[in-house]
């Protein structure tokens, strides 16, 4: 830029350059330079200190306090052998991801094991940044875990992480209002939900029938995919992850059902800018009959500071079914091992320790984290202490992960946009899936 100014100032000003002109242009150039955003490159050398068993574990803030307790337990049990240090990462998943990605790009960094989101593995694995742990969990071990989390970490037939805790979309409903209108159980299908929501909202004078997350963001993608998957629509081909198959009558049907929630007045128009936060506010204020949200909300119902309704007024059920059954979007966090780590043995030992029944149970009881081990869903103590697990264990079993693709971030941006447009009725479901078919296929091609 300055080069250009220095070489041919005449062309810029049409006259001979003098010092003042130079300063003028220079000043303008600097003003402009301040506007230019450039990708920063975070540092982070690969040098790590300490003994061969000292590892760094990266994870977002843990408000329950249970994480540090378990780390201490691990360190005590493995004294002299392994030692884990917890490094706190940003709360925001996107920022966390960005930070880890920057470390990997700059050559690995000093983090050995990551507690990361279920949507990350393919993106990391495609670049060779995280370790293939297929051998660590043979089939008989793998079968002990829920299928959703395992599927989310399986990329090109290999397993890239060790399951930790999970999350699934579920349907919260106002038991009391439903009973007043003569309904004894939760709706089984989306059509039933529409009918019930309309009637109950009318009978009880509740503002909204059904609130969910239809904003243009990651959560909107999860909700949109729940509709699409529940009618049998898919984003990627089951056998070939590089083939996009979203343009199908099933996907159209799913999106059409979602859009009809808003068009038919079951959900308020404003739901198209709702995230979990707004849906939660609406439901906990008693302004909605039904709400799709994650398990975390159940704990809030019992908290009078957060909620105007009481736990006895609320119940939880699996999400309603489309023509292909009930499907919940999968969330949750798993362990990924840095492929560049020199201490993978310690890292794997730590991840496996955390995935053991005793530790998962501890986190379920102290923080309501939902276990990934199937056996814990029959554990009496857990079921008693964390009612949401008892109420919606079925939803947790019916999870489908978001598309496992190395370019998921890009796909998510596109889906968020088209889904949101379709929800609003700005484009028809047919148009939305057609656009997505082209856009996502382009992304998939570019990524491979």
């Amino acid at each position: 830029m300055t080069e250009k100014q220095g070489q041919s100032p005449e062309t810029l000003s049409g006259r001979r350059m003098n010092r003042r002109d130079f300063l003028k242009i220079g000043g303008a150039g600097l003003a402009g330079a301040a506007l230019l955003g450039v990708a920063g490159c975070g540092g982070g050398g690969g040098s790590s200190e300490g003994g061969s068993g000292d590892i760094v574990f990266a994870m977002g803030p843990d408000t329950s306090g249970s994480l540090q307790k378990l780390i201490d337990k691990f360190n005590k049990e493995n004294k002299g052998k392994y030692s884990v240090k917890y490094r706190e990462m940003p709360t925001d998943t996107g920022q966390f991801f960005d930070k880890i990605r920057t470390q990997f790009q700059s050559g690995g960094g000093d983090i050995d094991v990551i507690g990361g989101d279920v949507i990350w593995p393919a993106q990391f694995a495609a670049n060779g940044w995280i370790l293939d742990v297929s051998d660590q969990l043979p089939d008989n071990e793998r079968n002990k875990f829920l299928e959703g989390p395992i599927a989310s970490m399986t990329y090109e037939g290999k397993l890239y992480g060790i399951p930790w805790y999970t999350d699934a979309g579920m349907l919260y409903y106002r038991k009391d209002l439903l009973e007043e209108s003569g309904f004894n159980e939760a709706p089984k299908t989306w059509d039933e939900l529409k009918e019930m929501a309309t009637k109950v909202a009318e009978d009880s004078g509740t503002k909204a029938g059904f609130v969910w997350q239809a904003s243009q963001y990651e959560g909107g993608v999860v909700d949109g995919l729940e509709y699409i998957n529940s009618y049998g629509g898919k984003v990627l081909d089951d056998n070939d992850a590089s083939k996009v198959v979203i343009d199908s009558p099933e996907s159209v049907e799913g999106l059409a059902m979602a859009a009809s929630m808003i068009a038919d007045g079951v959900s308020p128009q404003a739901v198209t800018n709702y995230t979990e936060q707004e849906s939660q506010t609406s439901f906990l204020n008693g302004e909605a009959v039904f709400c799709r949200n994650w398990p975390y909300m159940y704990a809030l119902v019992g908290n009078p500071d957060e909620s105007k309704i009481k736990p006895e007024q609320v119940s939880v059920a699996p999400l309603p079914a489309g023509s292909a059954g009930s499907v919940s979007g999968l969330g949750g966090w798993n362990f990924y091992i840095n492929a560049a780590s020199q201490k993978t043995e310690a890292a794997i030992a730590f991840a496996k320790f955390m995935a053991e029944p005793a530790q998962q149970k501890y986190r379920a009881l102290n923080g309501s984290f939902l276990p990934t081990l199937k056996s814990l869903y029959e554990d009496k103590e857990i079921l008693d202490a964390v009612p949401v697990i008892a109420l919606a264990g079925e939803a947790l079993a019916n999870t489908i992960p978001r598309p496992v693709s190395p370019a998921y971030s890009d796909m998510s941006l596109k889906m968020a946009e088209q889904f949101n447009r379709a929800f609003k009725g700005d484009v028809s479901p047919e148009e939305a899936v057609k656009t997505l078919q082209t856009e996502l296929q382009q992304i998939a091609d570019q990524a491979s």
Partner: protein, 303 residues
């Protein structure tokens, strides 16, 4: 090069470096220049370089010429970012200028409590943008948002503000006007106070009415200040990011949000994100040049 011109050039150099005072001046700005070279010029050139390649985050990749730019102009998101940014910039700067000038003229008059008023109008400007964006988002919101409620109640609109892109853009313009008009007013006020009172007195004696005084005296004498203020605001609006990002919860696209998505969120659009950054840079540069040469803005007080 002819001897004459070489001599002339040598003369110029001599003038610049022969004078010990000037030389000291150059030595003193040298560290600053080096830092600028390192943290501003180098990244800019590097961005331009990357924008001409099939760059990914990890590799520079193959040279593709202007392909990233042509693809960028076919990208719907970029176009909507560009349109939103241009509409936002023109509208917000226009209203900020008109209202800011009005306020400046008003508080330039002596009245009781003038100091208090001057301090009070700065309150919106003192808020960090993300905070005011989050605050206004709540007011526009459908559950607790007072503005959304009133606008719907009086029949001004019939839908939630946050669900509609056009309303969101209008909302952002209003918030920006609310927030930065005080800044504009303050800059213009500073300009107004440099106009000597006797010029007005003389005009009044000559029988000039209030409009004549405004257009013949105030405006011409205020022009340098206006240009500086408007250029600052234009540059600022043109790179709008935090207001859109927070208030629309990432729904409203601007040029800067497009760049961010490209280089930080996306895995594949890195090169295009870079191209967009370079585009912002050059268009902003041209804008500054337009102000300086097209509108005759003074950049130094040397005459």
């Amino acid at each position: 090069m002819t001897t004459a011109s070489r001599e002339k050039k040598r003369g110029w150099l001599k003038e610049e470096f022969g004078n010990p005072e000037r030389r000291t001046a150059y030595y003193m700005v040298l560290p600053a220049l080096l830092i600028i070279l390192l943290v501003a010029v180098y990244p800019v050139i590097n961005s331009i370089w990357l924008s001409l390649h099939q760059a990914t985050i990890t590799q520079t990749g193959q040279f593709v010429g202007l392909e990233n730019y042509t693809e960028m102009f076919q990208n719907e998101d970029f176009i909507s970012g560009l349109t939103n940014t241009v509409i936002f910039t023109v509208a917000s700067v226009f209203f900020e200028f008109i209202i800011g000038l009005g306020i400046a003229l008003a508080i330039n008059q002596a009245f009781r409590g003038r100091g208090l008023v001057r301090a009070a109008i700065l309150v919106p400007w003192a808020f960090p943008t993300v905070i005011s964006a989050a605050m206004w988002r709540l007011m526009f919101q459908d559950q607790v948002g007072v503005i959304n409620y009133v606008a719907n109640a009086i029949g001004l609109i019939s839908e939630p503000i946050l669900s509609d892109r056009t309303l969101l853009l209008i909302g952002s313009i209003l918030v920006d006007v609310w927030k930065t008009t005080p800044f504009m007013a303050l800059l213009l006020l500073a300009g107004l106070q440099t106009i000597p009172a006797d010029v007005y007195e003389a005009a009044r004696v000559d029988g000039a009415n209030v409009f004549q005084r405004f257009f013949q005296i105030t405006m011409p004498l205020l022009k340098p200040t206006i240009l500086v203020a408007v250029l600052f605001r234009t540059m600022d609006s043109y790179r709008v990011y935090d207001l859109f990002w927070v208030m629309s919860n990432r729904q409203l696209e601007s040029l800067s949000t497009y760049v961010y998505k490209g280089v930080r969120i996306s895995q594949l659009q890195f090169a295009q994100g870079n191209a967009a950054a370079v585009f912002i840079f050059f268009t902003a540069f041209l804008l500054a040049l337009f102000f300086i040469y097209g509108l005759g803005m003074q950049t130094s007080t040397e005459d």
